[in-house]
Every structure is written in structure tokens, then in C-alpha cells.
């Protein structure tokens, strides 16, 4: 198991190299001069040339990339072009805010999404199922920045119950300021979790072992939890982990709507000012959190499904055999 985790973590390295190289190349190909970003339009030609030399911008692309990676390996994410502050510090200071928001949204999504999905599946075609299905469809179709704006209009401007902007300092105002952005981010994810739970539970409901379980005369609640849900859990884990991975990378739009001081807004500002080191830092954070969550999902599969667990353990013996977890993940993301 540990071997498997280490192997997966090692596999992260080429992906990260690929992602950073890809984004680095795009940014370098861009027809603009970062020096003007740093010095402004009024700078002299000489000052600009010095700055270029200092930043190594005159080197060829590959050299610059290797230099960047080299610095990265020494823990140096570079300095922001705009603020001249170390990128790593700036991102790390904002990351807790994003984690907080992401976790709250995820809690909303899971606490509501899974039970609703189960109920909806068990009472297929009932009024509740229809309402949940239509509601779920609407929720996944709603652009979440728009939902955010609607919530602001209703709860912040009309009813004046909750703040519309920023992040509160003391616990009470912090919680108050968390509510609207969490709902904004959580609603869409809740809907996808619900839809996934519903279809997955519907799928397991038809399995023979559910009939076996019922034929034993055990309570329906036990049939639902131990037999249906546990078997239906893998796609639910997949989608939740992927969504959480996305959230941890920061959500540009929602953080912008609510002026939430997280990494998403930091990245958006970086993109708008074409601040290459800051963009690169954010991209790395995004990819890492996304990949780690993916790995976490694969590890969780082993706890849910003994078949997958035994495959991780015997991986050495049958290498050509692919883990079903990977396939499951692919299906769900596709």
C-alpha cells in the first residue's frame, strides 16, 4: 500500500513538469514584455534592459524554464513581477482561506448531496425524486458566479442578513462571511454529488446481493447503508475528491464575487497583470492539490472495496493488470 502511494507520488513529478512547462511556454510565447509590467511605461530603455538581464529574460525559453525549475527545487518560487514579494509567501498566506472555504463548501455538498441522492434513488419517480432531479439539473446548470450574485442581492442587499464582501476577522463574523460563498460553491457540487449518488445507488439497487440482503430479513436501513451505499460509494468518492481538488486550487470566480482573500483571486490578479511567477505558483498549487486529491480518492477506494485493496497489494505480481480504481476514476471524470 505504502509502496503504491510512493509510486503514485513519483508519478506526480512528470505531470507537474509537463503542466509547468506547458503553462510556462504559453506565458513566454505571449506577445508582451514583462519588464513593462514591472517598471511601468515610463521607464528608460536602459533600465528596462538591465531589468531583463536581471530576470534572465534574454535567455532562451528552455534555459529560463530549467532555471525556474532549478529555483523551484530549492524552494524558491520566484518573486512577483508586480509586488516584488516572494510568490510562495503570498500564496501560502492565502491558502488557508481557500482551504477554509473549500472545506465548508464540500461539507455542504456531501452532507446534503449523499442523503438526497440515496432518497431520490430509493423513491425513484416519486415527487421527491422529481423535485431533486430537476433541482439538481438546475443547480449544475447555474453558473456559480451568478448564483453568488443572486445570493448577494437577496441576503446581503435586500435582507441585510449577511455580508457580501470579504472575510470576517472574529469567529462570528467569519462564519457569517463564510455562509454565502460556501453555498455558492457548494450548490453545484452538491448537485453533482447528488446526481452521482442517485445513479450509483440505482445501479447497485438492481444487484443480486441486494436481493440476498433483503431475503435475510435485515432492516431496510441496514440494507441501504451497508449493502447499497457501501457498494455505490466509489464513484461518489471519485467525484467528491475531484471537486475538492478543484476547490483547493482556488475558485477564481466565486472568490472574486465575494472578494474572498484566497488563492483563486490571487491567481486571477496575476493573470490580469501577466505576472508570470505568480501565475506559475498558482498553477503548481492547483495541479498539486488536484493530483493529491485524486490519489487520496484511490487510497480511499481500498478502504471501501477489498477487491481494490488486494490489487494494490499484489500490484507487483501482475503489473500488466490495471487497477480498477484508475478506470473508475477515468469513467467518472470523462
Amino acid at each position: 500500500m505504502i509502496k503504491y502511494i510512493v509510486k503514485r507520488l513519483l508519478l506526480l513529478i512528470p505531470v507537474l513538469i509537463g503542466v509547468t512547462f506547458f503553462v510556462f511556454t504559453i506565458l513566454s510565447l505571449a506577445p508582451y514584455d514583462p519588464v513593462t509590467v514591472i517598471l511601468g511605461d515610463g521607464a528608460t530603455e536602459e533600465a528596462m534592459e538591465n531589468m531583463r538581464e536581471e530576470l534572465g529574460l534574454n535567455d532562451p525559453l528552455l534555459v529560463r524554464y530549467v532555471n525556474y525549475i532549478w529555483d523551484l527545487l530549492h524552494g524558491d518560487f520566484g518573486k512577483s513581477y508586480k509586488t516584488r514579494l516572494p510568490v510562495a509567501d503570498q500564496i501560502l498566506s492565502r491558502f488557508p482561506n481557500t482551504i477554509l472555504l473549500a472545506s465548508c463548501s464540500m461539507v455542504i455538498a456531501i452532507v446534503l448531496g449523499i442523503p438526497l441522492g440515496i432518497l431520490s434513488a430509493k423513491k425513484q419517480y416519486s415527487l421527491l425524486d422529481n423535485v431533486a432531479t430537476v433541482g439538481g439539473l438546475i443547480s449544475v446548470s447555474m453558473p456559480n458566479f451568478w448564483l453568488g450574485l443572486l445570493l448577494v442581492i437577496l441576503f446581503a442587499l435586500k435582507l441585510r442578513w449577511l455580508p457580501s464582501q470579504g472575510m470576517g476577522e472574529d469567529p462570528v463574523s467569519l462564519i457569517k462571511s463564510l455562509i454565502l460563498p460556501s453555498i455558492t460553491l457548494g450548490t453545484g457540487i452538491m448537485a453533482s454529488v447528488m446526481r452521482m449518488t442517485r445513479s450509483s445507488v440505482l445501479e447497485t439497487m438492481r444487484q443480486d446481493y441486494i436481493s440476498t440482503a433483503r431475503s435475510k430479513g435485515i432492516a431496510e436501513s441496514r440494507v441501504t447503508v451497508r449493502h447499497m451505499l457501501k457498494n455505490a460509494l466509489i464513484p461518489i468518492i471519485t467525484i467528491s475528491a475531484l471537486q475538492f481538488g478543484h476547490l483547493l486550487g482556488g475558485s477564481m470566480l466565486t472568490e472574486t464575487v465575494f472578494s474572498w482573500p484566497g488563492v483563486g483571486r490571487y491567481m486571477l490578479d496575476a493573470i490580469k497583470t501577466k505576472d508570470t511567477p505568480a501565475i506559475m505558483g498558482s498553477v503548481i498549487l492547483m495541479s498539486v492539490s488536484f493530483s493529491i486529491m485524486n490519489l487520496l480518492a484511490d487510497i480511499l477506494y481500498a478502504f471501501v472495496d477489498p477487491r481494490i485493496k488486494s490489487q494494490y497489494q499484489t500490484k507487483k505480481k501482475n503489473k500488466q493488470k490495471k487497477s480498477p480504481a484508475e478506470d473508475g476514476g477515468k469513467e467518472a471524470t470523462a
Partner: protein, 327 residues
């Protein structure tokens, strides 16, 4: 002998998008205490639906029980509430499903799957239930140490043993075995059947054995009912059925078995197909495939004729034709 289970005029339909499937249509069946009754018929005849109907496990939607009674020791199971039905399932009537490969929950260890059946009917601690589950495993020939293992670690035959252990865990009165050996290798089939027979004796159960294999019937059953198009067309004790079967369908079934003592080039299949269960023929269900069918068979539905000695047949031919009395 007492009748332990009496199914009367049971009607089960599946209402699907493509029309109504008439799966079980006015079916009568009785099971005596301590006997093994074989229910024989081809795929789609309504065997599994009947079994699920008795267990109260017809998937709804699309399945609907449209009428009839299922009387177990004087109570009509169709009138029971869900909670009452739950006490019957496993404790009074247990069922073994067709495919052992898919009948066990893949993510729960087998010991627990047996133990939860025990715990739901008997006031036992977790530990005591687990202990009993281990005994059950030993009983079906699986070492108790394997209780902590998961279904994917067992072979098909072993899985079916586990399924049997689950079914017998609460010492039920009736065991419904739905094609318990169909999915198994031929060599394992005999083992499982022998075991079922022995266990039936030890536990004094009545057994309803659903199968399409007349060989299995001959080996295991006391009495046989032949099902076609969702109704019983002939029932008799096993010797009578093999020697003096009357219904043309039973005739066809027996003719399609290869016989060791005759030299035949080709097997004799029953011509034609099962009628479409969404549009059953008005008259005799078998008329389109029957060599003796006449106008009346096509328009009028035959009733069950009681020929005495427990031999019943659903065919017009024996209304007038003299049947030699059974000895």
C-alpha cells in the same frame, strides 16, 4: 402431511415502458411440510418471479402483485406489512439466488454477511452471532477461519456454499432455491445438490427447488410442478411425472433430454418459442407450439384437471379422454 405454503391464484405483472409483462398469471402451487417440490420450466416462464413474489421481493416498480394469496401457516403473506414480512424473510422462508457470483455483497466479509442475518432475527451479541456464522460455514464445508475473507477470495462453488449458509443461518421452515446449480461447474453441481439434500434433512425444511434441469428434479424432488407462461400446466409426484406425464409441454420437455439407453442422432427440441409475455395467447398458452392444438385450444383457456392422486394437468385432451387410473 400438512400444507406449509399455499399459493392461490397469484398474479404478478411487470409494467414497463414497452407494455405490461404478464409474468405470473393465476398460479396455484402448494408445498407440503418436509417435501421437496421441483418447479420446472424454461427461461421466462415466471419461475423467478414466483419465488420473489413469495419472498415479497418483486422489484416495484415495475413489478406489481395484481392478486392472489400466498398462505404460509395460515397467514396471507401478501397482507403482511413490511415489518412483518421482514420477520418472515430469512427466519421462516429463506431463498438462494441463481448466481452465486453476484449474490454476495463484494465489500463485506462473508462472516458478517451470515452474522447479520442471525442478528436480525435472534437477540444475540455481535460476537455470538459471528460465532454462529462460523458454525454455519463449517456446516457447509468451509473452514471457519475464512469468515473474515471477502467474496472475491472464494470460488463459485464456495460462494454458493456461503449463500446456502446465509439462507440456513436462521433455521427457516422453507428454503426456496432458485436454480442453485445453474451457474456452477457440472462437477460442483452434484456436490451442492447433495449438500442441499442433506441439509434439508437435518433442518427438517421444506424446499422449493426451481430449475430447468429435469435431471436435478429426478435426483432431488418428491413432487414436480411444470410451469409455462406464468401458470402451472402439470403437477404430480416425481415418479408419475416421469412415467405418466400427460401435458404436451411436459412431453416435449422430457423428449428434449438425451437418453442414454436410446440411440438418437438428434435431440428433439420443442418447436417454436415461448409466447411473448406482453401478449399472451387468449386460449391455452401452449397452443402455438402444441401438436394437438385445435380451435378450442386457441380460444378457450383450459382449467386445471384433477386426475386424482395429486396428479393435475391443464389440458382439454384429458377432459374426455380416459386416463388410466394411477395405482
Amino acid at each position: 402431511m400438512n400444507t406449509i405454503l399455499d399459493v392461490k391464484d397469484l398474479v404478478i405483472h411487470y409494467e414497463t415502458d414497452d407494455g405490461c409483462v404478464y409474468a405470473v398469471n393465476g398460479l396455484d402451487l402448494d408445498l407440503q411440510e418436509g417435501e421437496t417440490l421441483g418447479l420446472v420450466g424454461e427461461t421466462g416462464a415466471g419461475k423467478t418471479t414466483l419465488a420473489r413474489g413469495i419472498m415479497g421481493l418483486v422489484p416495484d416498480p415495475p413489478g406489481r402483485i395484481r392478486g392472489g394469496e400466498i398462505i404460509y401457516r395460515g397467514t396471507d403473506l401478501l397482507q403482511c406489512s413490511n415489518a412483518e414480512m421482514r420477520k418472515v424473510r430469512g427466519r421462516k422462508i429463506a431463498m438462494i439466488f441463481q448466481d452465486p457470483m453476484t449474490s454476495l455483497n463484494p465489500v463485506t466479509n462473508v462472516g458478517l454477511q451470515i452474522a447479520e442475518a442471525i442478528q436480525s432475527h435472534e437477540k444475540l451479541s455481535r460476537k455470538a452471532a459471528m460465532q454462529k456464522a462460523c458454525q454455519m460455514l463449517e456446516q457447509v464445508g468451509i473452514p471457519a477461519e475464512r469468515a473474515g475473507e471477502y467474496p472475491h477470495q472464494f470460488s463459485g462453488g464456495m460462494k454458493q456454499r456461503v449463500v446456502i449458509a446465509i439462507a440456513l443461518a436462521c433455521n427457516p421452515d422453507i428454503l426456496i432455491a432458485d436454480e442453485p446449480t445453474t451457474a456452477l461447474d457440472v462437477t460442483i453441481q452434484a456436490q451442492v445438490l447433495d449438500m442441499l439434500r442433506e441439509l434439508r434433512e437435518t433442518y427438517h425444511m421444506s424446499m422449493l427447488l426451481i430449475t430447468h434441469d429435469l435431471g436435478v428434479v429426478a435426483q432431488t424432488c418428491d413432487r414436480v410442478a411444470v410451469i409455462y407462461g406464468g401458470e402451472i400446466v402439470e403437477s404430480a409426484d416425481v415418479y408419475t411425472l416421469f412415467d405418466q406425464h400427460l401435458h404436451p409441454y411436459t412431453q416435449g420437455l422430457l423428449d428434449s433430454i438425451p437418453k442414454l439407453n436410446e440411440d438418437v442422432e438428434r435431440l428433439k427440441p420443442i418447436e417454436g418459442m415461448m409466447p411473448d409475455p406482453t401478449q399472451l395467447p387468449e386460449g391455452c398458452r401452449f397452443c402455438s407450439r402444441c401438436a394437438y392444438a385445435d380451435e378450442r385450444c386457441r380460444t378457450e383457456h383450459p382449467n386445471m384437471l384433477d386426475l386424482g392422486n395429486g396428479h393435475k394437468v391443464r389440458c382439454f385432451r384429458y377432459e374426455t379422454q380416459e386416463v388410466e387410473p394411477h395405482e
